[in-house]
Symmetry: D2
Subunit: 372 residues, 4 copies
């Protein structure tokens, strides 16, 4: 079992998520970065490449062509650019025979996501979308608990993802992460596209249920900002369960405390990113339970997503690494799907959610229709 060779587009100096992809991909020794088009600035890309001891390219098209042609070329492309630059590199790589791991959201808009879905299908290659939270052991345990029916039929879902880092117009003062995330041309959508999609995805991932209808309040709170920075959505799932989704980047003081609550007929579960290694279960008539990551009583799915014994916290990088490990497994085995790693289908659903919510904001209920 040798490490799989990985190339990266994006992730140059000042990037947040690019380095996370690299650390995550290499953590378990299952992938090895071999090439990158880290920046459109040739000098910066080359510099980054030297630091990591890999092949550097100034242009991602050139990189894909070159790597696809080498015996020892990259087998997987990690797409870690701003949203509007997800589609083209992913499509090109798939068409060149590479597998693709893409940061979320899948694309800048729904049409692109649907087009990409066709490309993925036609390519026969694997496509994985890093909805990071699905990589956490206790999120996977939560999914198993619901799937086994331990809570009874799910009746209500509350998911809240509050951040505060865009409370002020920091995009005007040189904060690179803020600049592109609030630029309609680069990001496509604001808060709802950046973190609302995480909340939407985790709700569907854990419950196994799909949102059918929604009613949204998507708005821009900070004056002059080009995209939404706050969104609140009422939802109805297939089967009738009620849902509430809250996402915000102007909740001053909030860090990154994604919280999911799922209530069934007999009990409820809560997972909170600030206590990522815990999963709490509350019951109608029994003591509450807290499960801890890496504990012997967990399902194999969750237990296998920890590296070290219970009580030794693993975090965001390790959750991310679980997605890469699953993806590497699938590549190695030649599987048609990458296990629990979100696929382009989830990407399409998320973009449909974003567009439906934005279009219907303030206007009442709409159906969430997603072309197959």
């Amino acid at each position: 079992m040798r490490p799989i060779r990985l190339a990266m587009v994006g992730g140059g100096p000042g990037a947040f998520i690019g380095p996370v992809h690299r650390m995550a991909a290499e953590l378990d020794g299952r992938m090895r970065l071999v090439a990158g088009a880290f920046s459109r600035d040739a000098r910066k890309s080359e510099e980054a490449a030297r630091t990591w001891g890999v092949r550097g390219y100034a242009d991602w098209r050139e990189m894909i062509a070159a790597e696809a042609g080498r015996e020892d070329g990259a087998e997987v492309l990690a797409v870690v650019t701003p949203n509007h630059l997800h589609f083209e590199p992913a499509r090109t790589a798939l068409q060149a025979g590479l597998h693709v791991v893409s940061d979320k959201p899948a694309t800048r808009d729904l049409a692109q996501a649907q087009a990409l879905a066709q490309t993925v299908a036609a390519s026969g290659r694997l496509y994985g979308l890093t909805y990071t939270y699905t990589g956490y052991p206790m999120v996977r345990e939560a999914r198993e608990i619901v799937r086994r029916g331990e809570l009874g039929a799910v009746r209500k879902v509350i998911v809240e993802y509050s951040q505060g880092w865009l409370s002020e117009p920091v995009e005007r003062t040189g904060a690179k992460q803020a600049e592109w995330r609030t630029d309609p041309a680069q990001a496509g959508a604001g808060c709802i596209g950046d973190i609302g999609v995480h909340a939407f995805n985790i709700a569907e991932f854990v419950t196994g249920m799909r949102v059918q209808k929604l009613c949204a309040d998507v708005s821009t709170v900070v004056p002059g900002r080009g995209l939404d920075d706050d969104c609140n959505v009422l939802m109805r799932f297939e089967g009738g369960a009620r849902g509430v989704l809250v996402a915000s980047q102007i909740s001053a003081g909030a860090r990154n405390g994604l919280r999911l609550q799922v209530f069934g007929e007999r009990g409820g579960l809560t997972w909170w990113h600030e206590r990522a290694g815990e999963l709490t279960l509350d019951w109608l008539d029994a003591p509450s339970q807290t499960m801890h990551a890496a504990s012997s009583y967990l399902t194999p799915l969750a237990l296998g997503a920890s590296r070290i014994p219970a009580g030794h916290p693993e975090g965001f990088i390790e959750a991310f690494a679980n997605l890469y490990r699953d993806f590497a497994d699938a590549v190695t085995k030649g599987s048609a799907e990458a296990g629990l790693v979100p696929s382009i289908a989830e990407g399409v659903r998320s973009m449909a959610f974003v567009e439906a919510a934005v279009a219907a904001s303030g206007k009442g209920w709409v159906d969430l229709q997603v072309a197959a």
Copy 2:
């Protein structure tokens, strides 16, 4: 300063909130129960009266008349009956010259609440509504923090009140508290009227802002139930702040964890009933803070709402007692208003909220209009 004399309607055997009113009223020695029409069953009422060593009546009309006519008669009536029996006793007592403390909601419907508001105004008597959570020291501190502008302008409010005790149709198996609360004739509204109003009230109480528009999903989850048991509401406050209100009695496993989050321009605050003695402040660029009840650094308003030193928890009964203490102060001083104790104006607003949400459920946004 002698204790004020209190009569009670309701609160007989099996009651939950009646005994709380008695304990709360007497805790600080500021009121003393002297009479009660505790039950429509004369024998039960008499029995309860004997236990408490007070005058017992089988009929509340008779009690009000008799007590109003005695030199040493009750000065205040506590109304602790099911919702549909709030209006008549309150109105009769006010007209007989008694002050009234009523359990929430003020009445069964908005029309009654508006009528009662006129009676209160005409009577010159005090009327207090026991929105218990306004009696907690740290809720009062939260209000002060917002009022002083420490968070900056408020932009977002999330209030969540999840309970699970009506997850099953317990009203059909003899649970007295469930029976009347799920009966349209007695309760008027279900979850939204029972606890949604608490959530609504605390949001307005702490922020000092009024809800102007809302969009609701009010529904009945348990089959066969006559009233709603789950409600989720998007809100817009005057000035534009966004709000989300979640209330449920079918969130299995949830106890009584009312949680309020208020986010302003510079920071946010969180108060959670399961940690009632704490108030958490999160800031854009400074460490989070946790304030503890009874601490020297609190405002006098909050500090005065604790009886014992920091680190010695006070709870629900003490919060309730703070309302009674404030009310007793106002009675003693002959004040026109009972300090922070919610008044009939809050009662009217709450009923308007309930009716607007129920009427518009699933239909989109409506204005929350409340006749002055």
Copy 3:
């Protein structure tokens, strides 16, 4: 069932624990304050009496004599004076035929406690010691869990009671509570006598095991203070379990977070006063559990110690009230013991603990011998 008549010695203006005794005694309507020698200052005592509407006395001896002689006189005396004034009033009241509820510690020293034990035995009256923490529902549940063997044999006990309010020499700046508590003549012992005894008592109460040997470090940290303000003790229980007791009044920033951990062969439990309504159980091979006060699954002993439904916090006053309620039950029934209310035997053990720890501080291990 009529309320039992209570007299009080101590508890005048500025007192902390006196008012708690009154609120606790009356909360459930099972006792009623009828008389008090609230202060040695006749005017202050009279004033307090007027406020409460009870008979006031300037001298406790006079009060006991007078009340014992009245048909409607007090049946129980609450002793809420500083430590050095516990013994005489308690003895006198018992000898006059009154039952006694005393604040802790039982007496100023072990000799007094032993003498008082003889008086109690001779009197045939009930004597209860308000080790408040034994009144908390979840502490009682903890005791039941250990008693039933759910944890297996107990192997280790850690009890930590840290306060910070004596971090500075506040006794020199007029703080009444600090003055007598740091005065050898009034308090007898410092931190170890004031809160160390609580920690000792709760450890023995919950485990049902007795401390046999100890090794202590009892010291005075704030220069010039007359009594100890910090103590740390290693302990061995009968049967061999290890114990660690930490108590401090100079742990700056600590409020009143008494924490008890008990570890057995199969699992451990934790109770923490700052989360008084919760009890956490951790297991070798199963999810952790959190029990919540007033929940249906608790033992009757714990369930009966709550007044209101789960999720409605009760606190220190209610825990205190549970002791008074149990005591009232015993008085009413003419029982020889007051249920779970600590008795003079616990008072004697505690004083023996205090004296052994102080005497042996810094010198190594000593036996904790308590004359039967």
Copy 4:
């Protein structure tokens, strides 16, 4: 800046800490594993080497000789064997001109540690000891807070490290981690040497104070076990501060919740491994504060120990990686010391602590004397 080349002794199949060292060393791209003597079983060592794509050796002596002789040979040796195999490889590597990173404790006994200290001094090479907890950002922040005097003079330290995984005699049922840790020949000391040293080290690291005297209760609770599995220690620091250290591997249900409390004249701090990204400060007269890792308001020392934004948890592997990163920095710069990475001096102190506690257990107070 190229990655530093790392060799490893130990860490073969079934190992816990070996893989952590590898992940930690490589996480930031500052070191790269190039060789290993992963197991005494040549086949296993070779297999592990193939998996990682590195040079495999069956014998560590052979590896050190070979690597020291290669142009591209390892520059650093990571020692991740059981305790009794720390000394020889570390000494040999230092003498061969390699730097050494060793897992804790430094050696099997004090004499070895002292001998190793001389070797380190003579070699002019760097030696780092992975007391992991010193790598956590919030532990480093705690140290800075104490160092700056924000708490005032430190008066009391409580450190508790409870685990439960040796509650049963699992060493007799094939648990590899338990086997050597309870074997006197391999481990030297039991609980006190395995985790007591972590507790001791973090207390000295954060406070900057040294333990001068101690009084211990070190014992074996599980029958038949060859080494101690529980230890409790009273301590006195230079300057007079009191300390309590609790460490246990038979606290059933406990995971790995190392908790440190430091109390000064004005406030106290608490760090708890189960909330590793938080640091709590409690003050005499101000709200409590919680600092979160990666927040802008932290000192550079702590801020630099996080890789990703606040709210994205990092854990044990990342803390470990901070030690490796600091070590790599020092190697790169040719520094004489590896920043905050614990050195052989800390290793010697820890072993002196272990031997003093074991020798004096149950016998009273002894001095902790450490030859310079």
